[in-house]
């Protein structure tokens, strides 16, 4: 395993899992996507020349692998159909239970969004600017800004629906 890969795992592991969870609510399938993303990163990292930020590189690989997963898993239930609950692989500690509950509601609200808006919202929640979102999606900055504005409005409605 290269040092770069260890850096990716250390710095961006939680980000990768959050992206995977935005595509799939079934925890076993989330693990499958995460593993697939790690494998793609492991294979792609030697070709990474630092033309973009490592985080942007990781996010592009993660979304591309997640989309491939969604396309491949066409006969399995989709994330949007499984919004009744998010199984958490880690047992939450008691003192963080309230935060976990709020985060669960946020994840459900995000999962309810159509895929296009979900993708934009997850990038924005990760702190990506409209310009960075445009780079990841391969669209213009103004188009990314418009989509972000719509996606935020949709998220607000979705949050109200799930009772956040």
């Amino acid at each position: 395993m290269s040092a770069s890969f260890e850096r990716v795992v250390g710095e961006h592991g939680p980000l990768i899992r959050r992206i995977a969870r935005s595509y799939e609510m079934n925890s076993a399938l989330v693990d499958e996507i995460v593993q697939d993303i790690y494998l793609a990163l492991w294979q792609a990292l030697p070709a990474f020349r630092g033309d973009s930020e490592l985080k942007t590189f990781v996010v592009k690989v993660a979304h591309n692998r997640a989309i491939t997963h969604v396309a491949r898993e066409s006969r399995r239930p989709r994330a949007a159909e499984l919004d009744e609950g998010i199984p958490d692989p880690a047992t939450p500690p008691d003192e963080a239970a309230e935060q976990d509950e709020s985060r669960g509601r946020l994840e459900r609200a995000v999962a309810k969004l159509p895929l296009g808006q979900r993708l934009v919202v997850t990038l924005a929640l990760e702190g990506f600017s409209p310009a960075e979102i445009a780079t990841v999606l391969g669209i213009g900055v103004s188009a990314a800004s418009v989509r972000l504005h719509r996606a935020k409005a949709a998220l607000q409605l979705s949050l109200e629906e799930v009772g956040a």
Partner: protein, 190 residues
């Protein structure tokens, strides 16, 4: 949504608990599995070579029927191999390609896969019709029964049936993937 509310949501979103990192051995196992998939593809090529060997053997038998059937078998294998190579050599999107471009590339590949599978199905149907025609012609035009001929016809039919089953399965898989990718592309454009 106010800026402070958005900042709170970002903080909440990023507050996910730590997860165990993947184990290097597990990744290496997955990489090995990918290699096995490549080996499976190579096995398809071996089947093609076997078909070619059958064709050449028939040609070498020297009689008119065998030369005709052998040449047809070689042409069939060449067509199938060319179709397979065309499909498998399609450029794959880079792992860190922008999402829209990677998706466009994936859709192009899926469409190529569907066309490839359909071509294989029709090529196999043509092969089956040819074999049937050869068997009927031999049955009507020759008097003595030829055990070797029956064996060749049986072997060719088995090979064609295997091709047809694989091509049909491949067609179903790629069609489903294409439909899903089209739906994703539509959703991303919203």
């Amino acid at each position: 949504m106010k800026n402070s509310e958005w900042t709170d949501l970002q903080r909440l979103w990023k507050s996910s608990p730590p997860y165990p990192a993947p184990v290097a051995e597990e990744l290496e196992r997955l990489a090995r599995r990918r290699k096995w998939q490549a080996i499976e593809l190579a096995a398809g090529s071996v089947v093609g070579l076997a078909g070619l060997a059958v064709g050449i053997t028939l040609i070498l038998r020297g009689d008119a029927f065998s030369i005709f059937a052998g040449t047809a078998a070689c042409v069939f294998v060449a067509v199938i191999t060319a179709l397979s190579s065309w499909a498998w050599l399609a450029p794959q999107p880079r792992a860190d390609e922008a999402v829209s471009r990677a998706l466009a590339e994936a859709r192009r590949n899926a469409r190529a896969g569907v066309r490839h599978a359909a071509s294989m199905i029709w090529a196999t149907v043509a092969g089956m019709l040819f074999t049937a025609a050869m068997a009927l012609a031999r049955g009507f035009l020759t008097i003595e029964a030829n055990l070797g001929g029956f064996v060749v016809i049986g072997a060719v039919q088995l090979m064609l049936a295997a091709w047809l089953a694989l091509a049909f399965r491949y067609y179903q898989t790629r069609s489903a993937a294409l439909a899903r990718l089209d739906a994703i592309a539509g959703a991303l454009e919203e």
